[in-house]
Amino acid sequence: MLELYHWEPNTYFLKPLIALEEKEVSFLSRWFDPTSFEQLEPGFPVDTESRLQLEREGPLLVHDGTRVSGSFFMLEYIAEAFPGTELYPGDAFRHYRARAWGQVLAAIGADVSILGCARHLRPLLEQQDRRRLQSQLGRIEPVERRAAWEALLDGRYDARALSAIAERLAFSLRRIEGTLTGSRWLAGPDYSVADIDAFALIAPLPALAPEVLNATATPRIVEFLARMRERPAVRRALAYTRSGRPQQAFVPGAEPSRWG
């Protein structure tokens, strides 16, 4: 039995949807709305790792009782556990490159999540009754996971902070652009988990931060995003949307480096 607990097909939630569709594995879609805190309700599967949630809010894959959290490692799990399309092609060095991109993209994902939450989630939270919201946030453990939500309301992410994040993203995007200048895919000549990871995390950027991802500054990334959207598996994954605007669906993501 394979169940995927997920929300709108965006960022962390989009990754396993694409991988499962690439593998053509049948699974039970367990939809939940993290902005209504349904992940905290009794009955939602939880264990040590999913409770700690290093990505703060994200999908959960349950495979014959094994709970798999952490979206990049979920991609690796899907690549290794199921037959079908090879998502980890090539030799040890290509595998290394895919994993090394996973590390770079984890930092990118943290920044994209903040930009997305500031633009789309913060206004939703600000409309809610503050006392009721505080009481819901108070149920979130551990404290870092709660703090990621509270940070959206405490004024920390002002225009200056968001501009610094966009600048940091521009640096990382230049690296992706450089790699895609010599190759269609990130980890080598073949499509891999690294491409799924990258697409899921940076696809919202042309709308969120057009100054850093656009046809002039990053033409290869723009082509890469279009190439990804042509894949039938990606189309099927994006079709899980209920809002019709998946790239506006944000909840807190991984924490940016505490070293500044």
Partner: protein, 251 residues
């Protein structure tokens, strides 16, 4: 030809050192003194333009991310397997490596840099230090070094790091109560990763990590310390940082 550029057997440098020792793979060792900014010198920047250590050079392949580097070592070379065979245990190994790398390591290193790295390099000429920091290629590493060298960590940042270290120790103790090793039933890269981060915890956090409060962590550290590969790796250490491992000797 296999060459590893590394500092002390500690944290990121120690991960590939211990993994290579476990596999029984010979390599040319190039020691770089992190405190002397050797990793930002032009000759090393030709190997790794980011100026971070470690770096593994295997023929024309250059690897610079320490955790994926360990998976490469396990997959590329013969020797005992350092990753479990089943996908679920591999997932657990990788999840915990991320917990070590992204949660515990930044907090432990913030404390370590404030009490050890910062004071060690702060003695030098201030202008020379500022110039050395300006030469650091990665903006994020420049910020980190500036904070360490000029003691710019705030009291709140250090307090939060101490809180996370205590929380992380509790979480790890609970994990090792449920499983003998990080990935589950067998020794793996997860243990190599965790050991490099945590071997000195009983010394740096004696009030939180000790035989009475965290017996599972203590036993886990000693079991790894007793492996010939760990002995061999830590013997390559040149400073008091690496010699701290001696406290894991059973008495």
């Amino acid at each position: 030809m296999l060459t590893l550029y590394h500092w002390e057997p500690n944290a990121n440098s120690g991960k590939p050192m211990l993994a290579l020792a476990e596999k029984g793979v010979e390599y040319e060792s190039r020691y770089l003194d992190l405190l002397n900014f050797d990793q930002h010198q032009p000759e090393y920047l030709r190997i790794n333009p980011d100026g971070t250590i470690p770096a593994l050079v295997h023929g024309d392949r250059v690897l610079t991310e320490s955790t994926p580097m360990m998976e490469y070592i396990d997959e590329q070379f013969d020797g005992p397997a350092l990753r479990p065979k089943d996908a679920a245990s591999r997932w657990r190994m990788r999840w915990w490596m991320r917990f070590f790398d992204a949660y515990l390591a930044p907090s432990l290193s913030m404390i370590g840099w404030s009490v050890f790295v910062g004071p060690a390099v702060r003695q030098r000429d201030q202008k020379e230090l500022a110039a050395a920091i300006e030469r650091i290629p990665l903006p994020s590493r420049r910020v980190a070094w500036r904070k360490a060298v000029f003691n710019e960590f705030t009291a709140d940042e250090l307090e939060e790091s101490r809180r996370r270290v205590m929380f992380g120790i509790d979480v790890l103790e609970a994990h090792l109560t449920a499983h003998p090793w990080i990935a589950g039933e067998s020794y793996s890269l997860g243990d190599i990763n965790g050991f490099n981060l945590g071997y000195a915890l009983p010394l740096s956090q004696p009030q939180h990590c000790n035989d009475a409060l965290t017996p599972r962590i203590m036993e886990w550290l000693r079991r790894i310390y007793e492996r010939p590969a760990a002995r061999q790796t830590w013997a390559k250490g040149r400073t008091q940082l690496a010699s701290r491992i001696g406290m894991l000797e059973r008495r």
